[in-house]
């Protein structure tokens, strides 16, 4: 059993309370020590990505071995899909922690910020690494409660209102998830994901499980901000401090929302065609409505938050297209291509959306405003922010040679080969409107001749913030290389294989 798996969960959890303790003894320790621990997590995540390859590593906590081939105890499972998510979480977390060294000087209570940050990272790592339904729920709640407190961190009027709305909606979603887990336990008498799939082979009551699937989709759909459940996202992501906005929009809605939906629907439930059609249409709805709501915004972070909804719609759309093809039992290679496009877009979106939010934070740090009409002419005064923002805007709109182009191309090609022509046309239209949105952002923020009376004292931001932005900009260019077949085989193909064939997942876990 691989000991790296519990270490990835324990280290941030212990680090949170250690920061609170040491912060009272030594003055500035939590700031720098956070970045060191996150760097250790980055190294551990990449080590596990390279090590795991196409296999699955199972960790039985407490050493409870299965009795009569029935797993008892809590299992932690690391496979290719989890390893990709771990790398995304730790990379964006590290860069966000480095950015916070100079950004959080404006707030009081710094030690609490770093403790909550570690709790959020520990919760996300726990969700990604667990092989047990109730364990997902517990770590989800740890992470979500930390994010409620982080959204309300600068206690102003709008932050508190955003956090209240987020909390009420999030609590209802957690209740729905708990209720769904209870219904699954009632029928199958087990909580292990692989074991539930094994029990489904003996008998599967379709109407009962469609109800359970709808509950799980509603609960996790609210955490992932899919269209009918998106109401909390613009307020929460625009009121949080900027490094937390980058973490929330770049990693959080993926690790606790979309990761769980894709994992449970492909590897646990038996997919029926009606639910697959529902998921695809929800994805298309998010995609279209999100971008049309984003075009008309004048607050820079609200615009970025609405465009997050639309990009997540792309991922859900491609996963839904894959599900429709699997449930009909035709063209498995096109389904694999669609899921590959979705996972690749997930990785890309973390990079460029994180970079966009960090840029918005840099502008807010220097100018003190978030309104697009009050900015202008920043391209001479803040050159690095302007250059990285240009790279990120071109990436998100799908302009070659940046990474967004390749992932959107794979999704559109997969939709065309599966003969879903309407979805492909919608994806192209949404991409064009996204380009319009981000050209508007670039023009008003950076290239306009703004009002000259306030912009005298504006210069570039400090060292740690510049480091994070430049690193993410380089990542945006380098991640485009993942589209080529040799890199795709290394990183994306193991994840897609495990998602497509649930039997590999079961055999490795139950057979051990």
């Amino acid at each position: 059993m691989n000991p790296v798996i519990p270490i990835l969960v324990i280290v941030p959890l212990a680090g949170a309370f250690l920061m609170m303790l040491l912060g009272r003894l030594i003055r500035d320790l939590p700031k720098y020590f956070t970045s060191v621990i996150m760097l250790f997590l980055v190294i551990a995540s990449f080590y596990s990505l390279i090590n795991i390859g196409p296999g699955i590593s199972v960790y039985k906590t407490g050493g409870w071995e299965p009795i009569n081939k029935i797993p008892i105890g809590i299992y932690m499972v690391l496979d290719g899909y989890s390893a990709i998510m771990l790398c995304i979480i730790s990379t964006i977390g590290f860069l966000s922690a480095v950015y916070s060294i100079s950004f959080i000087k404006r707030y009081t209570g710094e030690n609490y910020y770093y403790a909550l940050f570690f709790l959020m990272v520990a919760g996300m790592n726990g969700v990604v690494l667990s092989g047990d339904l109730f364990n997902i729920y517990v770590f989800l709640e740890i992470s979500v409660i930390a994010s409620y407190a982080l959204v309300a961190f600068g206690v102003g009027k709008s932050e508190l209102e955003a956090s209240f709305k987020y909390q009420v909606l999030g609590s209802i979603a957690s209740f729905l998830i708990l209720f769904g887990i209870g219904l699954i336990y009632w029928k199958t008498k087990t909580l292990n994901i692989a074991d539930i799939r094994e029990v489904f082979k003996n008998g599967y009551d379709n109407t009962y499980y469609v109800f359970v699937q709808l509950l799980i989709l509603s609960g996790f759909g609210l955490k992932a901000a899919i269209m009918p459940f998106h109401a909390w996202l613009p307020d929460a992501h625009s009121s949080a401090p900027s490094p937390i906005s980058a973490m929330l929009s770049g990693v959080f809605i993926k690790a606790v929302g979309i990761y769980v939906i894709i994992r449970l629907f492909f590897n646990m439930f038996v997919i029926s065609e009606e639910v697959a059609l529902l998921i695809t249409s929800l994805g298309a709805l998010s995609m279209v409505l999100g971008v049309f709501l984003a075009v008309g915004q004048w607050d820079i972070k609200r615009l970025l938050a609405y465009s997050s909804i639309s990009q997540m719609g792309y991922v859900i759309l491609s996963a839904g297209a894959g599900m429709i093809l699997i449930s009909r039992g035709e063209k498995p290679e096109v389904a694999a291509l669609a899921i590959t496009g979705g996972l690749f877009h997930l990785i890309n979106h973390a990079a460029f959306k994180g970079l966009l939010f960090l840029n918005a934070g840099a502008i807010e740090y220097r100018l003190g405003t978030r309104n697009l009409k009050e900015m202008g002419g920043l391209s001479e005064k803040m050159p690095i922010t302007s250059a990285t923002s240009f790279i990120a805007s071109m990436s998100i709109s799908g302009i070659p040679p940046f990474n967004g182009f390749f992932s959107k191309l794979i999704i559109i090609v997969a939709c065309v080969r599966a003969r879903f022509y309407l979805l492909a046309i919608l994806a192209v239209i949404v991409s064009i409107v996204t380009l319009a949105t981000f050209l508007k952002l670039q023009r008003y923020a950076f290239y306009n001749k703004g009002s000259d009376n306030e912009s005298h004292s504006v210069k570039e931001v400090d060292g740690p913030m510049v480091f994070s932005m430049i690193t993410l900009g380089i990542l945006c260019i380098l991640l485009g290389l993942l589209a080529f077949p040799s890199f795709r085989e290394l990183v994306l193909k193991p994840a897609v294989d495990i998602l497509m064939n649930a039997d590999i997942y079961i055999v490795k876990i139950i057979g051990m």
């Binding site: 709640e141 209240f164 909390q167 209870g182 009632w186 909580l191 613009p234």
Partner: protein
């Protein structure tokens, strides 16, 4: 059967409270009522006919116990509910300090 119906009625009461009440504190209390209905449902699932409370004593070797796993899940969920409610109450107190009112119709700073 009637006990499952009572759980459902409790859930509907909580949901009605969250949707229609205007006072912030009443919304928080209704959320707690909704979560309690989920806990009751969980403990009802694990009932075995003629079972006793699951505490092992060495005197009786062949005793039928009720299922202890949902009870462990409910304990964990109660702790999580406590943390969520306390954070919600802290935010409500600060909202009262900033806005001066508990009425949710007055709190409309963010729109669009």
């Amino acid at each position: 059967m009637i006990t499952y119906l009572m759980c459902f009625i409790l859930f509907l009461t909580g949901l009605y409270g969250v949707i229609t009440r205007r006072n912030l504190l009443k919304i928080a209390i209704s959320l707690s009522i909704m979560e309690v209905s989920a806990f009751l449902f969980f403990t009802l699932i694990g009932y075995v006919e003629g079972g006793k409370a699951p505490i092992v004593s060495p005197a009786e070797p062949n005793q039928v116990y009720v299922d202890p796993l949902p009870q462990a899940m409910v304990l964990t969920a109660i702790v999580i509910g406590l943390a969520t409610t306390s954070l919600l109450l802290a935010i409500i107190i600060r909202i009262y300090g900033k806005y001066g009112t508990f009425d949710i119709r007055e709190i409309k700073n963010l729109k669009g």
